[in-house]
């Protein structure tokens, strides 16, 4: 698994993918958080990181599928899948290696935004006037959300040899998971089960974590979605044996 992880990560670095993803994410977030007046933290009057945590998921909806779309799709198209599957590796080695590599890349993109916290910390009036536990909770939520998106992306990439199809499917699924269930729950038709449906979506658990209260149920939700997505991927990968 570690070999796959390091190889995948090397491919990200050898190609432009890593630099473009990290660069675009940081420039975009920087502009939104500090420059554009509508969303700028400096103009908002509140010493919080709401901008980052509310916009980042939407950026991830497009960015994460872009990272993961090639993982299995390209492997299938170029035939390297055959090479990989005839090496002494279990399917889980391959899936987890690829999943962790893309997750690691997203983490690297997210890491520099910690600077935002320290900036706001020292800009606050009085200094240090920021909800630290809220920020920590939000970061955990955002990281788990990125992990779900990676798992969804890996799954979408395994269903097709076409990268564009993989990208579109992954972006759509991420969108459904992030806001789709929430919006569905608000339909009149579902009013009786609104809360139940809401709990299928990421937003419900993400918001709960961002309050700074790290509830094991929320964390469990994230982990189980990741597990289910990767298990389906394993099933698809194993279907060659049928």
């Amino acid at each position: 698994m570690l070999q796959i992880l390091s190889k995948e990560f090397k491919s990200f670095l050898n190609s432009l993918i890593a630099y473009v993803v990290i660069g675009v994410f940081l420039v975009g977030m920087g502009l939104l958080a500090w420059v554009f007046p509508e969303t700028s933290i400096l103009d908002s009057g509140y010493a919080d990181m709401f901008t980052l945590f509310s916009v980042a998921p939407f950026v991830f909806i497009f960015l994460v599928p872009a990272i993961t779309m090639r993982s299995f799709a390209e492997e299938r198209k170029s035939g390297t899948m055959e090479m990989l599957l005839t090496k002494p590796l279990s399917d889980w080695d391959i899936i987890l290696g690829k999943f962790l590599a893309s997750f690691l890349l997203v983490l690297f993109a997210l890491l520099p935004t910690i600077v935002y916290y320290f900036s706001i910390y020292s800009l606050g009036n009085p200094i240090g006037n920021i909800d630290t536990s809220g920020v920590i909770g939000s970061y955990i939520g955002l990281i788990l959300l990125a992990a779900i998106f990676c798992a969804v992306g890996i799954f979408a990439s395994s269903i097709t040899p076409n990268q564009i199809v993989a990208f579109v499917c992954a972006a759509f699924l991420c969108f459904i998971f992030f806001t789709g269930f929430d919006s569905l729950a608000s339909l009149n038709f579902f009013s009786a089960n609104a809360l139940f449906i809401k709990q299928f979506g990421i937003t419900y658990h993400y918001d709960s974590l961002s309050k700074g209260l790290i509830d094991s149920r929320d964390v469990l939700y994230f982990l189980s979605v990741i597990f289910v997505m990767l298990s389906i991927t394993k099933l698809i990968l194993g279907s060659r044996q049928w």
Partner: protein
């Protein structure tokens, strides 16, 4: 016994890609796996490398069944797939180190193995280039290097020499022959000279069935059953005019006025053909008895069995 294929069948929907084939390959043996396109060569190899499961039958590699012990099988086999898939965005040595890592080779051993393979496969000058910038011949060498990297007991090569220039061809053949001393090697090809150059034994497969499994010598002797003569006339000649000649078994029109005539063994039909031309007042512009080569055996084996099947 290192590679045993026992009554293996692979069915894709309606079509049987491989139909109840059995053969063995011993340690130290190089076996050429021949057959026309779509005969089932690659499918058989994919089953022997655990990429595809056989529909029925057993494939046993170095004592391990591919269905029961795939991990063990994968560890002892080196496999070069047909289209030689590579990660184009990696550097040559980086790619080989990655492959070595998959086999659990690490540290200094890995470095020295990779260095050795790079040298043996003639990649020294290319080792710091990205694979995408290399030509087909070099990529083929990388494919071979990755198959040999972990010193496998069983080597399965699917068309290892396709796309190579004549010089590279000879080098790669030499390399295969060199490394095969204490290994079990099976490789598929449709280049007959190659088989002649390196194989001990030939397995010919056609339409999913084995049509020949014998040593080269025996196959060459067997082909004496028929002698093929290439004859070319200037003027109009019909194939059936030739087929009534004495001793002729089969006539095939190659192009206009050019025929491949097969006669019973021991009969020289060249004088007969000459007299035929003289009688009809035709100019005989070509007359050549073909040496019984693997190529003609291959053609006989695969075309004959195809025509039988069509008649059924």
């Amino acid at each position: 016994m290192s590679l045993q294929i026992q009554h293996v069948t692979k069915q894709y929907d309606q079509q049987k890609a491989v139909d109840d084939i059995s053969f063995n390959v011993q340690e130290g043996e190089i076996v050429g796996f021949l057959g026309p396109n779509g005969a089932g060569k690659s499918t058989t190899m994919k089953m022997a490398t655990c990429f595809l499961p056989p529909t029925s039958g057993d494939v046993i590699v170095a004592g391990f069944n591919v269905m029961e012990n795939p991990m063990e099988v994968k560890k002892v086999t080196g496999y070069l797939p047909e289209h030689n898939p590579l990660y184009l965005d990696l550097y040559v040595h980086e790619y080989l180190e990655f492959i070595g890592g998959l086999y659990g080779i690490g540290g200094k051993v890995l470095k020295s193995r990779v260095g050795e393979m790079i040298e043996r496969c003639g990649l020294t000058r290319e080792q710091n280039k990205k694979i995408e910038s290399l030509s087909k011949g070099y990529r083929q060498r990388i494919g071979l290097a990755q198959a040999l990297l972990h010193d496998p007991k069983v080597l399965i090569l699917d068309e290892p020499t396709s796309g190579l220039d004549p010089n590279q061809l000879i080098e790669i053949r030499k390399l295969i022959k060199e490394v095969s001393k204490n290994k079990t090697v099976i490789f598929s090809t449709h280049i007959m000279q190659e088989v002649q150059a390196i194989c001990d034994r030939v397995v010919v497969i056609n339409k999913g069935k084995i049509v020949a499994d014998d040593s080269l010598q025996n196959l060459l002797q067997r082909s004496d059953a028929g002698v093929s003569v290439m004859v070319e006339f200037e003027g109009n000649v019909e194939a059936n005019e030739l087929s009534v000649l004495k001793g002729v078994i089969r006539v095939q029109e190659v192009s206009k006025g050019k025929f491949s005539v097969v006669a019973a063994s021991g009969v020289d039909i060249r004088p007969e053909l000459f007299r035929f031309a003289a009688d009809k007042n035709l100019s005989l512009v070509g007359l050549k008895q073909e040496e019984a080569s693997l190529e003609s055996i291959f053609r006989d084996l695969t075309i004959v069995s195809t025509s039988i099947e069509n008649e059924l």
